[in-house]
Symmetry: C2
Subunit: 448 residues, 2 copies
């Protein structure tokens, strides 16, 4: 059994939905389909979910919501009509939305429930379309499927009992279409996942049914080994491990939300990233282990927008607790840090630029000076991180040498090297100005 | 005016003291001399300070101390007789020791005061010897010189007012001989510095008199650029900066106690390491800044005996405060850490092996598991650190490439790289087994 998930661009309009149907029908193993809400039809279009959020805003604010509701229904109607489906479907979808609006629940729940209507509508439409092609298919509501989550609107986490109930989907016949993005609490209330949560649904369903494969259909042929904006026509990654995917996602690869895959990872379900617009392309496999790739660089991730907070103090390393106290100051301001290299008399903390600014920055600098009595504290902005990712990198002799050679040939100074914690990646800090150049040289070193 | 300090081996016996006198007289600028206690005359000899500690032990324990006292006095007497000085000197030294023994002060003070008799005796002897050669010279007790310290026996810190009073030494004529290792509290009580404190005295005196040069005479020609046990006949360092010296001292260079130099550093007094047994050799200069050396590797320090504490947890980087809490657990057990590289889902802490063992280790592992709910925690021992030191290293393109190439050629895997906090060093972690080999290849890369 395969579980197939289609992202927003794949269900944006009738044309795309026809491709989806073709893909599903192309492989009899594709039995469970998870769908997102209709995405943008063009680059200046609006996503369905955003239209629903606008609608929710009007409803919650007790304003006239007719225009907002029409915008939503027009989108659905357009798809339904192009697919030559019954107007009843449009009415069903509208009734559901109206029911939520009239329910007079809390603002939080109303927003959550309305947001979910995009995915729900997609699922109803796809199911009806498959039926119209004489295919045995059914829409399955998440509650029925067994997607039970914690009751945290917008932040729901799937509960373990969910997996057992999902397995029972094997007992049903035909193709099952499940809307992504939301589940139900134990008490039966609708709750949504964090944004991009259709990936989470797909992952959970794949884990629950112990799928042979979880196919994640999006709008790129594969995961690339480097940002295509920096290196044109880069090599495609044929396969990588869960760990490698997670590390790459961290610093710039945004094919999908890496945390969404965790249920699949835990259940060791293989994942394949494919392109709805080019379904014959092999795509990228994401697997638990990949012996063939051990010791090889799988991908190069890069991102700007980091800064270094640097402190120095004579005999810092004699003060047990100094590092901890510095981190405490950051934690008090709810700041998350990337890495904190320390030396004998100094320590740096690498942060994302948005973590430190304005008054917060002043407060932190003042606290560091007063509480830690440092000799010097300063902030250097405009740093970029470049990360080499690959299983077994930290046991591979010579890799660091190859990597640093690329930096030298690019004539870019390495401001920071972080190797040693992760078994799967090696992180470099450079001035943002040199980032693209260095990435190009690294690509040449490792992929050509 | 130059301040000259002689270490234990330089004042161990009459032969050495004659060399000391020759050195001092060789340069009329050498006006203030700081001396240690007599060191070992041969490799299985006992240092004077250890004899005094034994004596103190007997006295404090109310045991018969005659043999211990004789051992001390025999050493002094031997030197005094060989230098053909008056027996009165022996009596003076013995009276001073007896005075301390009979004073019935606290055990702490008694130990402290007896320990100081080695340096004090050396200073008296050298001063008398110079006088016997018709040189105007005087023994100057630290209280008289103005070495005022905090009242922490064995841990005394010099106070700022000390420097002002020391400057008045300029008003005195002749050569001034000051015993190292101890000072006096504001209340007039004798207090010793931490072990090796003659270096501290020399440094303080050099800062106080604003010396043109502080010459630190020991038993090696210079500071070597690498451990001579790993690379034979290594190049000598002609000059390095305070920062570089401090970093090198951290990981294995034990020419002297680097913290002792801090008063000289703060006052920007140039320091020169020289050899009593080869005083004409130029030695090694330690200075505030060294433009000529910028961007060059000055030395390679290396040390075994480290371990890595490794923890991993899915989504660790989303838990603000995780790193701080891990460090807190270590701090609660009074553990000092060297470096803590963190990744996305994992974090390592590099410790010296002696910090973690037995029950302490069990407690920490248990706390980490319970309080941080990690997926995995383990300890890897037998790690060695190799450190490249040099001002401007972190701004020098290509250095990391050169360094990592040496590792590759040595066929040693780099387990950890820490670059980015210190401007002056770059730290590598390797399995202890490969350390010497890698150091040899690094030496070849950077010094040949």
């Amino acid at each position: 059994m395969k579980v197939v998930k289609f992202g927003g661009s794949s269900v944006a309009n009738a044309t795309q939905l026809r491709k989806v149907a073709d893909i599903v029908l192309d492989d009899p193993e594709r039995k469970v389909v998870v769908v997102s809400a209709p995405g943008k039809r063009s680059s200046d279009d609006v996503k369905m979910t955003d239209l629903l959020i606008e609608l929710a805003g009007k409803v919650i604010g007790n304003e006239d919501y007719d225009t907002a509701l029409s915008a939503v229904m027009d989108r659905f109607r357009e798809i339904i009509q192009e697919l030559e489906l019954s107007e009843d479907l449009t009415e069903t979808i509208q009734k559901n939305i109206q029911y939520i609006i009239s329910s007079h629940e809390s603002a939080e729940w109303t927003l959550d429930a309305l947001k979910s209507c995009g995915e729900d509508g997609s699922a109803q439409i796809l199911s009806a379309y498959l039926q119209s092609k004489d295919v045995k298919a059914a829409y399955v509501n998440p509650k029925e499927a067994g997607i039970i989550v914690s009751d945290e609107p917008g932040q729901a986490q799937v509960l373990d009992e969910s997996l057992e109930q999902l397995y029972k989907l094997h007992e049903r016949e035909g193709i099952l279409v499940v809307p992504g993005f939301f589940g139900y609490s134990k008490e039966g209330r609708l709750v949504t996942f964090p944004r991009g949560g259709s990936d989470i649904t797909g992952s959970i369903v794949a884990a629950g049914v112990k799928a042979d494969l979880y196919e994640n259909f999006t709008d790129v042929d594969s995961v690339y080994c480097v940002n295509p904006n920096i290196v044109s026509n880069p090599k495609q990654i044929t396969s990588l491990t869960y760990k490698e995917m997670r590390e790459l996602s961290y610093a710039g690869f945004s094919v999908f939300h890496d945390e969404a895959l965790i249920p699949a990872f835990k259940a060791k379900i293989p994942v394949c990233i494919k392109n709805t617009n080019n379904p014959q392309a092999p795509g990228t496999m994401i697997v638990a282990e990949n012996e063939a790739g051990y010791g090889r660089v799988t991908g190069i991730a890069s991102d700007k927008g980091f800064l270094t907070l640097y402190v120095s103090k004579y005999l810092m390393n004699r003060e047990i607790g100094f590092g901890r106290r510095l981190l405490q100051i950051l934690e008090d301001e709810n700041i998350s840090f990337e890495h904190a290299p320390s030396g004998i008399d100094d320590m740096s903390v690498i942060l994302r630029e948005e973590e430190l600014y304005g008054e917060k920055e002043e407060r932190i600098l003042a606290r560091i000076q007063e509480e830690l009595d440092v000799d010097m504290v300063n902030i250097e902005r405009n740093m970029a991180m470049v990360m080499l990712v690959g299983e077994g990198m930290n046991s591979t002799i010579g890799l660091a040498s190859q990597a640093t050679r690329a930096f030298r040939e690019a004539e870019v100074n390495i401001e920071m090297i972080n190797q040693g914690s992760s078994e799967v990646s090696m992180m470099f800090g450079v001035d943002a100005e040199g980032m693209e150049r260095v990435v190009q040289y690294l690509y040449r070193e490792f992929f050509e």
